[in-house]
């Protein structure tokens, strides 16, 4: 029996069947793989947070996370407290690392209260405050985990991006860029928050001056760099009251 594939009714039936089959197939695959994917994302977050506070397996030049299998254990070991800052006060919440910064930013835009997660880590007797931040690069989102001490001096940072240009903007996740932030001050000399600018006109390319609130930009990645500057300025600023409070209580 030959089918007449030119008939309109055949075309319609064919498309309906095709959509049902493809839809069912994709839905099944998504459902089956979802738990694994969520778990991967959770581990990655823990690795990122640990990386920022210096718990990583960096060798001379490349950035390496702790092993996936150890991430949960090390996270438990090094992160002593997870805080959620909302309505001006910090509450302990051991699910803080599951807060989606993107959703919180959208909430803030809609005029609602934004919850700010903050992780308190301790390594070799030193306290680290790690904040997740998020902003826009050239093509898509950029985000970071920034570890600070109680004076808002950066102790370590991990940057990542969705789709910056390979070889240019994508280099924000390279060691030579991320390591420049270590020791850099977020406050100016009189204690006002100014952030850290990714500067093209930096007279300090070797980054010897840690109080200039600037790090050297990546050539060819101006807009990504500006996005990172803006992200640090806008998002870390929100944590300033917390650190002021911290000083008062200590």
């Amino acid at each position: 029996m030959a089918i007449n594939t030119e008939k309109n009714s055949y075309t319609i039936i064919f498309s309906i069947l095709m959509v049902i089959v493809v839809g069912a197939l994709l839905a099944t695959i998504a459902q089956v793989l979802k738990p694994t994917i969520t778990e991967n994302k959770r581990i990655e977050k823990q690795q990122n947070i640990l990386y920022a506070m210096g718990v990583n397996e960096n060798d001379e030049s490349s950035a390496n996370f702790v092993a996936e299998t150890d991430a949960a254990k090390l996270f438990e070991q090094y992160i002593t407290e997870q805080l959620v800052i909302a309505n001006g006060s910090a509450q302990a919440d051991d699910k803080a690392y599951l807060i989606d910064v993107k959703k919180e930013q959208a909430k803030a835009k809609a005029g609602e209260e934004r919850r700010l997660p903050l992780f308190v880590g301790e390594k070799d007797g030193k306290k680290y405050y790690i904040a997740p931040i998020r902003g826009k690069g050239l093509w898509d989102a950029v985000w970071a985990y920034v570890a600070m001490d109680e004076n808002m001096v950066v102790q370590g940072a991990y940057f990542d991006h969705q789709g910056e240009t390979a070889g240019l903007g994508a280099n924000i996740k390279e060691r030579y860029f991320m390591d420049d932030f270590i020791g850099e001050h977020l406050l100016d000399a009189s204690g006002n928050f100014v952030g850290i600018a990714i500067s093209k006109s930096n007279a300090d390319p070797l980054n010897k001056d840690k109080q200039d609130n600037e790090v050297d930009a990546i050539a060819g990645a101006t807009i990504t760099g500006d996005g990172v500057s803006a992200m640090i300025r806008n998002d870390l600023k929100l944590y300033v009251p917390f650190f002021k409070n911290l000083k008062k209580t200590n």
Binding site: T5, E6, V22, I37, N40, Q162, A166, G167, L168, Y176
Partner: protein, 215 residues
């Protein structure tokens, strides 16, 4: 007794050189520009395209007699899109790091004109086995050029290969940098991909004069 008949092996070998999808048919230039700044991205993109083309050609070839010709382009798009989503999801679940690095590139496979081109030109009119070989052959031909371009762009642009600093350290001035060599940042920008592809086309045509079109 060869594994493939002469006609079949032509399907694999032709696109590698004399009928290369990028340098001869000038298809798939868009992704050749976008992702070749690093060798690693080129390699993974090639592998993903080999998978999508091989399987896609099989699926289209199997359905070639029942696809209504009026909506055949839409059907082809649906097949590519489905395969790409499957690749994306599987990578996310089982090779998370890799999928993060590839990010947008996986989605870009959908827009790769070589794939639609081969569905339309070959798989709709040929049997399953031959379509499969044609898909693999063209994807390989595409991959070879991608890898060559990626090799030169990463080497000359960043001084690294697959992330390893093969030319020394540009900041500490070791290796070739100690005699005044500098990385050429221009290699990382899209226009240089076109120029590298152009050079490959030039080399290929001067080696094989039959490829030169007559005016």
């Amino acid at each position: 007794m060869a594994l493939l008949s002469k006609k079949d092996s032509k399907l694999i070998l032709d696109p590698l050189a004399d009928n290369n999808p990028i340098t001869i048919q000038v298809l798939g230039i868009c992704s050749a520009l976008a992702i070749t700044a690093q060798l690693k991205a080129s390699i993974v993109m090639s592998i993903s395209v080999i998978f999508v083309m091989g399987v896609g050609n099989i699926v289209i070839s199997l359905m070639r007699n029942i696809i209504p010709s009026k909506i055949r382009i839409i059907v082809q798009l649906v097949v590519v899109a489905t395969l790409v989503i499957i690749v994306d999801q599987v990578l996310k679940a089982f090779s998370y790091q890799l999928s993060k690095e590839l990010g947008a590139f996986i989605g870009l496979i959908i827009t790769n004109c070589i794939i639609m081109g081969r569905f339309e030109a070959f798989a709709l009119g040929n049997g399953v086995w031959r379509s499969f070989l044609d898909g693999i052959g063209n994807a390989l031909g595409y991959g070879v050029i991608l890898i060559i371009v990626g090799f030169f762009r990463e080497l000359l642009g960043s001084g690294t290969l697959l992330g390893f600093p093969v030319l020394g350290d540009p900041i500490a001035k070791s290796g070739v940098y100690s005699i005044g060599y500098e990385n050429n940042g221009f290699m990382l920008l899209a226009p240089m991909a076109l120029i590298v592809v152009g050079i490959i086309i030039w080399v290929q045509r001067s080696r094989n004069k039959a490829l030169i079109e007559e005016n």
